[in-house]
């Protein structure tokens, strides 16, 4: 009698052992991923908290012997070489980022509204143009765009950078919006039309509110795009007045006598914004991407 349930118990025990094994290996993988993701971030913190003004000296300690907020103070108070105009440059970066975001959402949503909701013939031409832009490697256009901007009289103008960023952000916007808009029934528009709604009302009162999650994703995407950019800001802007944080940090990077702790503190302050935004919009982004992929 005792022999009969044995295979079942054996199988159960084997399953339990396998579950423990899976759990242990996923914890291990988790630890590896944690170290992998955070090491460069940790390195930034390590340098920023170093009290020394001069070069970084890492003696194998996992933590600086005397962590100091001196680097952060110098960055916030603009009290270090290169960082004299830190907040002004931050303002420039923010201006570019916000204008890019706003224009991308506006122009992208208008175009996708016309294409998706208004039965515009030859609308596929527009989508193809977006696709074509989408597949141009961004840095490949830098030289001709520089020349063209020169021709437009936009060199050393924040709007040149904004125009370039909007150009590269809009294709993503149009494609995501086109996909997301399929979830909103066209009957809704027809019903509103019967009630006498004008095109502008359809766009403002029905399309924009219902597309809010997708618009949030696009806003996040375009802000990240412009916040991440270096090459267009570096090439298209030249004067001190129009310098952005990215360009300043790159200039500081090649200077051997720079104050590393202040510079890394400034880098952390700059890098904090997209992280905050990403986590604030995280749920929206996940839902919209999931819907966009189906």
């Amino acid at each position: 009698v005792t022999n009969v349930p044995a295979p079942g118990r054996l199988a159960r025990r084997r399953r339990a052992r396998r579950r423990v094994l899976t759990e242990a290996s996923s914890v291990m993988l988790g630890v590896v991923l944690l170290i992998w993701s955070l090491t460069p971030v940790y390195n930034m913190l390590l340098v920023a908290l170093d009290p020394e003004e001069g070069e970084i000296e890492f003696a194998g300690n996992l933590w600086t012997p005397e962590p100091s907020l001196e680097g952060f103070r110098a960055a916030v108070m603009q009290d270090a070489r290169y960082l004299e105009y830190f907040w002004y440059q931050y303002g420039n970066s923010l201006y570019i980022g916000l204008a890019t975001t706003l224009l991308t959402v506006l122009v992208g949503s208008m175009a996708s509204f016309a294409v998706g909701r208004m039965h515009l013939a030859k609308a596929s031409l527009l989508t193809n143009a977006a696709l074509l832009t989408y597949v141009i490697p961004a840095s490949f256009l830098i030289v001709p765009l520089y020349r063209v901007m020169h021709g437009y009289g936009l060199l050393d103008d924040l709007w040149a950078v904004i125009a370039a960023q909007v150009t590269f952000a809009i294709p993503f916007a149009i494609l995501i919006l086109r996909q997301y808009a399929r979830l909103i029934p066209l009957d809704l528009d027809d019903a509103a039309r019967l009630d006498g709604a004008t095109v502008v009302q359809l766009y403002l009162r029905i399309y924009l509110p219902l597309m809010a999650p997708a618009l949030a994703v696009i806003a996040g995407y375009s802000l990240l795009l412009s916040w991440n950019d270096y090459i267009y800001q570096f090439v298209l802007l030249s004067s001190q007045r129009n310098m952005t944080v990215s360009v300043m940090q790159a200039a500081l990077f090649v200077d051997a006598d720079a104050r590393w702790n202040a510079m890394m503190a400034a880098a952390i302050i700059y890098a904090a914004l997209p992280i905050v935004i990403l986590y604030a919009l995280g749920r929206y982004i996940a839902t919209a991407l999931a819907r966009g992929c189906t």
Binding site: F58, L131, P274
Partner: protein, 304 residues
């Protein structure tokens, strides 16, 4: 304007399809005007900042002598090899790991959800700052990596950027670090779109673990995977910041890729036409990918 349809009814034989009418579709006068007004901003952006610069660029790099000079240049040859390695290793390793990890992040555990929030941090971190940090981690004995190597294992770490292969490897690792989270999130979204009953059915049939991945999950994600890989290849070809900040192209330009070499020619060596030629020389690689990708994006439901 309103009279056109009346004329049509009266004289069906003369159906002149003018350009404006074929563009108009089924729209009535007022709506058509609005539709055009809504599209004009994007068309203007496309023409001024994409179409014209592309044509201008092709014109700039249209001289054959540029390419003769380029192909004879040993630095260019090194750069092509680097670019191919960078794309082949960087993109494929990153995409494959992202696909596997997306399965890991699908597990329903609170700590895995929390880990995902940390895992996507490299993606959110601004590139310039992140790559400068990478550069400093690997700067030699003062860097974090060599410091850890000597503290933990007593090994004297290499000077990473004094060696072409170590430098190239550092660039690829930094690139994977930065962009793997983004694609993992895309694959998580793709996996979430797979109905749960398919997994349940697979489990009833005894497909678990690796077998379920090979026979159930991967076939369903294959199209998404292909599109993402193609797209990522194109974007990586245009990736400038990683190489520029991590290895800086050093030692002596031996880890440059096409994007950074083109930039150096155009802006450091003041030879813009040669810089454009470097970019254009990637077209034989780029065009087949673009054709394949646009076909996929137009027909399939996959959307990014």
């Amino acid at each position: 304007m309103n009279g056109t349809s009346v004329i049509h009814v009266g004289r069906p034989a003369i159906r002149r399809r003018t350009l404006s009418r074929s563009l108009r579709g089924g729209l009535k006068g007022g709506e058509y005007t609005w539709a055009v007004a809504f599209v004009v901003p994007y068309v203007a952006v496309f023409l001024t900042f994409v179409a014209y610069p592309v044509v201008y660029g092709l014109w700039m790099g249209s001289e054959a002598s540029l390419y003769r000079e380029l192909f004879a240049d040993p630095i260019y040859q090194t750069t092509v090899v680097n670019t191919i390695l960078y794309l082949a290793l960087g993109v494929n390793v990153k995409m494959f790991l992202a696909l596997l990890l997306s399965g890991f992040f699908m597990r329903r555990r609170w700590w895995i959800k929390a880990l995902l929030a940390i895992y996507i941090m490299p993606w959110a971190l601004a590139s310039v700052q992140a790559f400068i940090s990478f550069h400093w981690m690997l700067i030699g004995e003062q860097g974090l990596v060599d410091g850890l190597l000597s503290a933990l294992f007593g090994i004297e770490g290499p000077i990473w950027f004094n060696d072409r292969w170590l430098g190239l490897g550092s660039n690829i690792v930094a690139y994977i670090w930065k962009w793997m989270p983004f694609w993992t999130v895309i694959f998580i979204a793709g996996r979430m779109a797979i109905p749960q009953d398919i997994h349940d059915a697979a489990e009833v049939d005894g497909a678990t673990g690796a077998r379920r991945f090979v026979h159930v999950t991967f076939p369903l994600l294959a199209n998404l995977y292909l599109v993402c890989t193609l797209l990522s290849t194109i974007w990586t070809l245009g990736d400038f910041a990683t190489v520029y900040f991590v290895s800086g192209g050093g030692p002596t330009g031996s880890t440059d890729v096409l994007a950074t070499l083109g930039f150096h020619y155009a802006f450091d060596a003041s030879r813009p036409a040669l810089g454009v030629a470097v970019m254009i020389s990637a077209l034989p690689l780029l065009i087949p990918i673009v054709i394949l990708l646009i076909g996929k994006l137009q027909t399939s439901e996959v959307q990014l």
